[in-house]
Amino acid sequence: MAEKNEDFEPNIVAFLCNWCSYAGADLAGTSRIQYPSNVRVIRVMCSGRVNPLFVMNALQQGADGVLISGCHPGDCHYMQGNYYARRRFNLMRNFLEYLGVEPARVRMSWVSASEGAKWKEVIEEVTNGVKEVGPMDQFKRRQLNW
Amino acid sequence: MMKNPYIPYEVNILDAWYEAPGERCIKTFKVSFADEKVWDTWSHLPGQCAMVGIPGVGESMFCISSSPTEKGYLRFSIMKAGKNTASLHELEAGDSFFIRGPLGNNFPMEEWKGKNIVTIGGGIGQAPLRPVIQWVRDNRGDYGELELVYGARTSQDHCFKAEFEEINQAGDCACHLSIDVEEEEWPHFVGFVPSLLMEVAPKPDNAIAVTCGPPVMINFVLQNLEKLGFAPEQVYTTLENRMKCGIGKCGRCNVGHLYVCKDGPVFSYAQLKEIPEAFA
């Protein structure tokens, strides 16, 4: 495990659904709510669009944590996408934990278009959680033999 | 030759244009080495190939579609098919890419001296035949009659259109063109290339036939050449296969015991007849 570093600023990749969470994050921005700048947002049409490969690939490419965020249950623009995502990432999280990848690195949240304040809370929690466990170094693509 | 055969040379694109439109469009690149000194050691012959690519994307094998008699540049005509070719198609004059070569064998132009030559091409298959035609025209005295048979699906899909016109006007070569389906104002043959070949009916005496095109076309062309009396030793074609190293090491491009990259791409029909895998 990496040494804890007080100055460590993690890279967090967030996959946000277009209809709720992205709008929620947008609202946080337009409302001038201050939240940690560690997060890099990738907008997807639905949390159900997020393939577990995306998460794995993000961790390989240098993300220290990944957040998947969608609409609250029942609010999915496509009726059911977030329910599928929920099953998928419950398993994914448990499995990564089983391999020794801390669960703090893969998080999921429901953030609606009106929850700018919740977005801030989520990001703070994710960022602090990842800071706690330090840089992701298990299977980041290393440049050892390059 | 290259010191390390895996390290490519950078080439600058002098000019680039589309030969044919569509999903599988064909683009021709006229290039010259970024390092002028490479020209001092570079020599290729009609039929030879090069690995063409962009570091970070990959590389694929293409024939050099210019004759060595055309000085100061190389030409590549590339059809968009996969990841690498799609990236190459994004390049324009002033950009650069990388090539490794020349690789493979060549048409035995020396041996063919004094003979009549007929080239039979289809679609992008004209690319390896173009240097043969160019070579013969530039060494006109060394060869007999030159006849050119070429077809593509539509007149739009014809590669090297302008050059055919120029050849026709120059009159040093008979140029027979075809398209697969009837079009308005098409003055030439309508039908498939093998049928056009029978129409043209070149004489086998003291002649060499060179063909390249889609596998189905090649199959029928070979049959028809036999009907016209061409012996397998008089017929040449070029093969293609998936390639990676281009120098006979990586193993994947073999047809039977022959490596297409090293022993080919040019083969006589006599050689290929012995190898069932050649037509797989």
């Binding site: 440049q143 | 998936r242 120098i247 090491k249």
Partner: protein, 339 residues
């Protein structure tokens, strides 16, 4: 120079001495024996049958960089194999050394492969004779090898009980002997005589065999034979037989870019994989496992000898031992002989 011997008490010391080079020796993790870089003599596991993965990867790594580049810049930086330094592969079996000698021919054919050849130049091979055939499926003697074979080796060690007999055959081997001069002692002529007897005895214990006479010439005639459908029916299309083969050398070349820095690298590939021959158009000249199996056998037993005068198989038996569905190269060859 008289023949030398290495007392077993001094093996650790000798290995310690060799650690100043890049020392590769068999090591065990779980029940799997593989060759790996050794920094501590205690890691070496010399009482082994044969390694699961052949040591070919130290001349021909599974993944290796050909050159590096910065995306968008025309500068290409050739990978420097020299940096890997002098390498000693210690304790490899004679079949695996012979396999390297066979693969050398391909990499030095026509175009020199600078990476492979440089690595081979830097590598000294210290073999370990097989007192007992390591596997029931060994058949090296059918292909011109021997449990005590020296082809490709610089030094051969023979376990004589309390000590190893050390025989050096090449300049590289003799040079290495000098490095170990404080660990080696003079052996006797009797040792060599005894080793010869042991070699005969070990050869006698090889239980599987095939007469390969005429096979290279016969294979092309069997192109359309129904045997290919039969022997490939059970094939899963995995890469075990090729990746674990000491003479298989096919590779893929791919570009990788990470944060703007890139490399072109090559990695082992297998002719048994379906995408191995797929054209960009989607056409696959070897569409099923039948064509792929046929190509594998032909490549080893017909194409390779046709070009390099030697069959690209050394009879190590790995492909037989580890094939998940018991496809047995000797079974195939018997069908070829009988066809």
């Amino acid at each position: 120079m008289a023949v030398q011997k290495l007392s077993k008490d001094k093996v650790a010391e000798a290995l310690g001495e060799l650690c100043k080079f890049r020392l590769i020796a068999p090591a065990k993790s779980d029940d799997v024996v593989v060759f790996k870089r050794i920094d501590d003599p205690a890691e070496a596991y010399l009482e082994y049958g044969n390694s699961t993965i052949p040591p070919k990867k130290f001349a021909f790594p599974q993944t290796e960089t050909l050159f590096r580049f910065i995306k968008g810049s025309p500068e290409l930086t050739e990978a420097n194999v020299e940096e890997e330094g002098t390498t000693v592969i210690f304790g490899l079996r004679p079949c695996d050394a012979r396999a390297m000698a066979i693969v050398d021919k391909l990499f030095a054919w026509d175009y020199d492969d600078p990476y492979y050849l440089k690595r081979r130049e830097l590598t000294t091979l210290v073999g370990m004779a097989c007192i007992e055939p390591p596997s029931v499926n060994c058949f090296c003697t059918s292909l011109g090898g021997s449990p005590f074979g020296t082809e490709g080796l610089d030094i051969l060690l023979t376990d004589m009980g309390d000590y190893y007999l050390v025989q050096a055959f090449t300049d590289k081997g003799k040079k290495l002997e000098k490095t170990l001069s404080s660990q080696l002692e003079d052996g006797s002529a009797g040792d060599e005589k005894k080793a010869k007897e042991m070699a005969l005895a070990s050869e006698g214990k090889i239980r599987r065999s095939i007469d390969t006479d005429g096979v290279p010439e016969k294979l092309p005639d069997l192109w359309d034979n129904e045997l290919w459908q039969k022997v490939s029916a059970a094939c899963l299309g995995c890469g075990i037989c090729t990746f674990l083969c000491p003479t298989c050398h096919c590779f893929d070349i791919q570009d990788e870019v990470e944060e703007g820095e890139g490399r072109r690298c090559r990695m082992w590939d297998s002719c048994m994989f379906s995408e191995y021959t797929v054209h960009a158009s989607g056409h696959n000249p070897r569409p099923t496992r039948k064509e792929r199996t046929r190509n594998r056998v032909n490549h080893k037993y017909s194409y390779y000898p046709g070009r390099f005068d030697v069959i690209a198989c050394v009879g190590c038996g790995r492909c037989i031992n580890l094939c998940p569905v018991n496809i047995d190269i000797l079974d195939i060859l018997e069908q070829v002989v009988d066809a």
